[in-house]
Amino acid sequence: MPDKALPPKEKFDLIDLFTRSNGAVSLLVIALGFVFGSLFILLVGRDPVNMFSALLQVVTGWDSSRGVWNARYIGEWFVASMPLVLCGLSMAFAARTGLFNIGAEGQYIAGLTAAQFVALLFPPIPGLHWLVCVLAGLLAGAAWGGIAGWLKAKYTVSEVVTTIMLNYIALYVSQWLTHAFAPGANTYRTKAYPATSLLANPWIEDLTNGSRLGNGLWFMLLSVLVFWFIIDRTRLGFSLRATGFNKEAARASGIKVQSAITTSMVISGAFAGLAGVIVSMGSFSYGRVLPGMENYGFNGIAVALVGNVTAIGSLLAGLLFGMLNSAQPLMQSREIPKEITWIIFGLVVVFISFRNGFKLLADWRAKQRTKS
């Protein structure tokens, strides 16, 4: 009923728009991120136009400086976007149950590591091998997320702290397992994957002029659908969202809140685990001893927040951030330090955290009006 409490609309009102529409806020924070990012580039004496031309090239494949078109850029844009979309879905899914999953990074690493081992150890049966890799990654990610969910449900331990801890545990355990036990491992890589484990797709490869884009694409799109279906169309999704809105009310109306928390983290972790498989089996041809965090999980937080923790929002925001990420080498070659993309990610999240200001502003204005 909040609409009726507001005074009748006289004219188009910005504060109203931003307190009501999540989409408008997302567009605003993205715009602000780019504006401040550009100002920052100007401030250090470089030309922000170079950043935008690099972004244009990534999205359209058109190299304006040389006048050539190359579809590979578009393929690589999607390659960079897939793990971001999936980690965004991971963060967003947990957020719908009122959980803050900072652990997509760890779940991503768990998925990646499991898939690496399956790829190297499972018999190379065409058609089955890569499917088992995907399943292993999904399960490992789900398990890693499930730990945090279970600890929250059973022992009321803050998932914020446990997921941060589990990120680093995942990284070091992955390093150890891969280095010590993976076939043919040295300090940074394993022996090459059998071709049967890869997610390569010759048709897409042809279409995008030899980019690394492959069957991961279908899994990403399917994940967006699955997210939407579970959250918006199933009883499970309803109980998860109810738990997120008001835990006590959900409990009172017969929803098993504790199992909802664990389930939510399991599904959330599966999305991130899938991201790990897609990166490992899609972009690499050998297993890796990870030198450090790959940051898809952390950037996924930005993706989910900009996407207003919805399926389609995460897809769009993931494509946006993927565009920034895949433009990094082009920017670097045009004298824009590639870290500008991280700055824009960070700015966007900071501006999102300021969004509550609109509500405060609206409250204040309503108070002023009732006074006068």
Binding site: L151, V161, M165, I340, V349, V350, S353, F354, L360
Partner: protein
């Protein structure tokens, strides 16, 4: 056996930054504001300190270290204002603005390295901090002073009591005439100053330059030390010592014959596993400040 005596200086070198950052995080959480941005604040402090030191070293030998540390603190303090403004003035989710700072800090630091030094790290400085007669870096003594100062302030000064009340029951604190928002701002800024100091301490003792892997999770270890130490100065000091030792052993264990049977990542994992285990173990008891993570809204009860 492990020769702890000979390892002690390097262990304390690792403990100092973790302890300083953790004490900052503790002050912020005692006032009711979670600060998961410690990692980013340490990063920005480390970058600023290293940059200032590298640039001033030839011009102002002797003073550049001090100026570097001071600027690292100021940079951390300024960055923490973002977190303070979002979470205190705008009642935002404290985890979101903290995440934003973590992303922003490493981006800005490496970006500026590329502009100033034309590489993805600062240039190396000639001499960092030097050890004293006991083989200890000054950061160890700084950490000790900060520890005593924080304890004295929080538990022996009226202002410390007021600050803690903001994290336990801000409405009651406000009713008693305490300006909750102002104290929370001060607490978050203190954690920013200390985070910056921690980053500066780390970069000027443990390495020869700032790079994006300089901090490498130590801010999150500091965050863990706050919960592991149960939000008490003594506990946090113990936790930081344990975790710092673990980090030091993770680096030096390759040289210790008796430890070779362990996986090389063993000691890297210890702080994180221990923190989860203790959180589970003490889950029924309320060690955390009661109003932690909650924005203070006037008129709410």
């Amino acid at each position: 056996m492990i020769d702890f005596a000979s390892l002690l200086p390097s262990i304390l070198m690792m403990v100092a930054p973790i302890l300083i950052a953790a004490l900052g995080g503790m002050i912020s959480e005692k006032a009711g504001v979670v600060n998961i941005a410690l990692e980013g604040l340490m990063g920005i402090g480390a970058f600023t300190a290293a940059t200032v030191h590298v640039l001033l070293e030839p011009v102002l030998p002797g003073w550049s270290l001090l100026i570097g540390v001071a600027s690292g603190m100021v940079a951390g303090g300024l960055f923490s204002l973002i977190h303070a403004y979002a979470s205190i003035s705008l009642n935002a989710d404290q985890v979101v603005s903290g995440t934003g700072i973590n992303l922003l800090a490493v981006g800005i630091a490496v970006f500026l390295c590329q502009i100033i030094f034309h590489q993805d790290r600062t240039s190396a400085f000639q001499i960092g901090m030097t050890t004293d007669a006991l083989g200890l870096y000054p950061t160890v003594w700084i950490a000790l002073v900060v520890l005593l100062g924080v304890w004295f302030f929080l538990y022996k000064r009226p202002a410390g009591l007021r600050l803690r009340s903001c994290g336990e029951n801000p409405q009651a604190a406000a009713a008693a005439g305490i300006d909750v928002r102002r104290l929370r701002y001060l607490a978050v800024m203190t954690s920013g100053l200390l985070g910056g100091l921690a980053g500066a301490s780390l970069v000027l003792t443990e390495t020869i330059q700032y790079s994006m892997s300089s901090i490498n999770g130590q801010g999150f270890i500091a965050l863990a030390a706050v919960s592991f130490g149960r939000w008490m100065p003594g506990g946090v000091a113990g936790a930081a010592t344990l975790f710092g030792t673990s980090v030091a052993l993770a680096i030096s264990m390759v040289n210790v014959q008796d430890l070779r049977f362990l996986p090389p990542q063993f000691f890297s994992v210890v702080p994180y596993v221990l923190t989860i285990l203790t959180l589970v173990l003490f889950s029924g008891k309320d060690f955390a400040p009661r109003a932690i993570g909650q924005p203070y809204e006037k008129g709410l009860r």
